[in-house]
Symmetry: C2
Subunit: 197 residues, 2 copies
Amino acid sequence: MADDSRPGTRERILDSSAELFRRQGYNGTGVKQIVAAASAPFGSVYHFFPGGKEQLGAEVIRTSGAMYIELFAHIALQADDPLSAIADFFDGAAATLTETDFADACPIATVALEVASTSETLRLATAEVFDSWIDAAGAYLQAAGVAPGRSRALAVSMLSLLEGAFIFCRAGRTTEPLEHARRSAVALIGAELPARP
Amino acid sequence: MADDSRPGTRERILDSSAELFRRQGYNGTGVKQIVAAASAPFGSVYHFFPGGKEQLGAEVIRTSGAMYIELFAHIALQADDPLSAIADFFDGAAATLTETDFADACPIATVALEVASTSETLRLATAEVFDSWIDAAGAYLQAAGVAPGRSRALAVSMLSLLEGAFIFCRAGRTTEPLEHARRSAVALIGAELPARP
DNA sequence: GTCTATATCTCGATAGAC
DNA sequence: GTCTATCGAGATATAGAC
């Protein structure tokens, strides 16, 4: 009888790849390192991903992107109001950074910058994910009361603050930039929210 | 008689490396590619940089970082006021992005994310550069009238907006995020500047 | 100092036994 | 589907002729 509690080989490869790409980037991670981390045979990568490393990368980008939206949704559900939800998300990101010794920030930013000018397939995958984030954040802000014509611009600015702060945090091994970014994001969005009762 | 107008081998290696690291990252750029772009013999890299690729990387990070500060200083000198200087810098970054087919954004961000958890030597170089940027931007904002206790936080937020927008611009091949980030940066800083006559 | 040839290693990918 | 052996190409780095 099979051990259904243990993820299948394909899923383990996906999970290990996501973690390694997030921390070391795409070019800095070898297929051999991936299969070692996943405790999978080398050939399985090419069995499950006939397109090789690039196909694996594209799939990791998309699944990681979807998971990150769900993480925000999860935090937003528990918050009292939209501004607190945003602050909580920034705080959660800072906590993750500290817990992982500043390894885990954005799941796809490193890869996005690496492939932007070198792999059209992977660039498109990152573009789609970022678009989905901006759409989701924009819809969330609009539901919170931001004017429809301003929601997308604010979503982009909020996510830019997050992504930019991630770079400084990882380089300097400090969560201070994320705290400044959080405060600015809240100020920026708070200024375009209808006054609360 | 030597041709003094042509940069020396060492400088050509540094310049080519800076351009390639900026566009493809550190791991995505090979030493062979660098010497080919610099029209330099392979051995020269190890002659001028005995520490190999890592020493070359560290030097590129520091010189690129210093040049980027000078670029901002140059733009700031020509602007009428601080808020225009900031807007001009964002606009210039967008123009560079368009001119280079979305290849040239931040000179060190890709490398910074790649090496943050894999090379302490290079991570420290990126941290020093980012610190110098934050210090310079903070001093500039303070001179413009921002309260001393707020200048660093605003500098970090402004640079985060820039860096984050760069990621989205390169991934999506559009300068739209940079325009939203510019507007947000101006709003954020304008709100903490003393009213103008 | 310049340049080439090469050593050594690791990469992504494939073939084929089981 | 699992796993190993191996391929050819590319990587970084070094040795040594000029």
